[in-house]
Symmetry: C2
DNA sequence: CGATATACTGGACAATCTGTATAGCTGCGG
DNA sequence: CCGCAGCTATACAGATTGTCCAGTATATCG
């Protein structure tokens, strides 16, 4: 990861459609270089992929909430996670340190719908207790560019 | 959003590189249809973009933590968010309901480095208190495909 | 110091894809 | 019954991709 990698990622983040050739022009390097760098970044897992980023809100799921769970320990976390994964509205789940055992991000169509989703979560076998915090506003939307810049000494 | 949209998103999520033409072949529809659908999905904001997904862990930031903040109310949330946004390791920040005022996702290079990042967060003017939960494992990685399927009645 | 490996440049090629446009067909709503 | 919207099928020029190659500079190693 050097500065060129950083600029490359930034460029593609800003204008994903430009393609390798145009990118090489913008960065003033040979096309083969861009191609090689990109292949390496993907190969190393730095870039997970170029999939479409779907906005849950545009799909009608305008309510986001963070739910912390307390798990009945005997079973362990994995079986719980496996069942949580079956709920489409559970976008993400982590085991965490601290008072709670897991933290998940869920979405719902409305506050009323949120109740339904939460019911689905607490109905998961092994979940003892759930505590919900609704996201009122996304002050900083998920991003990684500043981190890339920090890591590569770019911009 | 109908089933074709769902299959289209799923296809591009699985193999982002295939291109419009190949996608039209896979879905057995005309190329123009795929192009029109894609344009509409992007136009409607359902698909935010096709930017590279960067893995912070591959960049050396292997530690993820969720920090809940209590904010000194007089200033409001926005100035705090604005300052949090300047910290590259803050990947995301929300204002939330419940005991705490904000929840942010941060990353760091190590547990020791996490201390540095948290110090940076609590140093933000307006932050009264911070409570950190380290992510031990990502049981369900961030995903939206199941939601797309649920919303479109796909597979 | 000399030899080898690595990365980048600049160029070439065929095959493919994109952007864009047209015309005809079909189902739905007025 | 008519018109509109969405889809199919097709066309074409221009651009891009995947893949080579040779030459050069920088770095590494013995």
């Amino acid at each position: 990861m050097d500065a060129l990698d950083g600029r490359l990622i930034e460029l593609f983040a800003r204008e994903p459609r430009i393609g390798v050739l145009e990118a090489s022009r913008r960065l003033s390097v040979a096309r083969g270089t861009v191609q090689a760098r990109l292949d390496r970044l993907v190969g190393d897992g730095v870039i997970r992929g170029f999939g479409p980023e779907v906005d849950p809100a545009a799909l009608g799921y305008g309510v986001t909430a963070f739910v912390t769970l307390q798990i009945r320990q005997p079973g362990g976390h994995d079986p719980v996670a496996e069942r949580l994964a079956r709920i489409p509205e559970v976008l993400e789940a982590h085991t965490i340190t601290g008072g709670a055992d897991m933290l998940c991000r869920i979405v719902a169509r409305s506050n009323a719908d949120l109740q339904r989703v939460i019911d689905g979560v607490v109905a998961v076998d092994g979940v003892e207790r759930a505590s919900t915090a609704i996201s009122l506003a996304t002050q900083v939307p998920y991003r990684t560019l500043p981190l890339v810049r920090a890591a590569t000494g770019t911009g």
